[in-house]
Amino acid sequence: MAIRASRGDVGAFRHLVREHSGLVYRVALRILGIQDAQDASQEAWIRAWRNIENFRGDSAFSTWLYRITVNTCLSVRRKESRRREREYSGDELPFLPEPRGGDADPEAASLGAQRREELLGALDHVRAEHRAALVLRHMEGLSYAEIAQILEVPDGTAKGWVSRGRAAMLVALARDENDHRETTT
């Protein structure tokens, strides 16, 4: 289908859009947040159509599409003023409070609206490249080789970005939790 679309077949392209729209929107939503996700996913598909004649099938179509989506999201982020990243002084380690029900209450089951907002808020404090790497690794479940291919960086850099993103996210999340607890007590 992708090869047909690369030859200018709009019907095949429409099929690809229907099939992969979830991937593009989901990644844009995780990297940019809900206010920019729709515009970014439209832009990603427009870029995909413009460049699809260069798609030769050397990599999976989804990898190629991930790359276009992530690049679109990163360029949206670069246009914005630099976001405030939570700094880590190193004075204290970032901890998350125990879940109320202890280990028998795994947060894996479902996330409440508040918890989801806290997570997305904390993600917002992670540098764009690190956030993209973190999303691809821990939310999309991709391997480091795939992440490196998508972000067009060496494997070691992809690993480093995920690691830094993970740490920065925990720092931001722990701080948000502490701030929240201070305001409620």
Binding site: R14, S21, Q42, Y88, L93, F95, A108, R116, H138, R166
Partner: protein, 116 residues
């Protein structure tokens, strides 16, 4: 002795990699030793595990794609394909007219079988 800020960040990343099951052999053993000696590092690993579970859960939640996010791109593709075809048609038509005009003025002799 308390580790410096850079060392703390390094430990923070190492414990994160351990919680994500990305360390093997000696590196994993080193983090396990640290966690055995320092309960706060153990707590840090638990915090990481909790965060990673939440991220994974969020990643697995179904996302509803707004119709506009899809429809607009497809419409643009159709318009661009139409414009591309129209451009080719107009170009070919223009070339044909030009050829006919040149022939009409007698500026070019008719060719037979590829040779002049």
């Amino acid at each position: 002795m308390m580790p410096s800020g850079d060392q703390r960040w390094e430990i923070l990343e190492k414990v994160g990699a351990y919680a994500a099951n990305e360390l093997e052999g000696e590196e994993a053993r080193e983090v396990e030793r640290l966690m055995f000696e320092r309960p706060d590092y153990r707590r840090l690993a638990e915090s990481y595990t909790r965060m990673l579970v939440m991220l994974n859960t969020l990643g697995n939640e179904p996302v509803e794609v707004p119709d506009d996010a899809v429809g607009y791109a497809v419409r643009r593709a159709y318009v661009s394909a139409f414009m591309r075809s129209a451009e080719v048609l107009i170009r070919d038509l223009g070339r044909s007219y030009l050829d006919a005009f040149v022939y009409y003025l007698g500026l070019r002799r008719e060719s037979y079988g590829g040779g002049i």
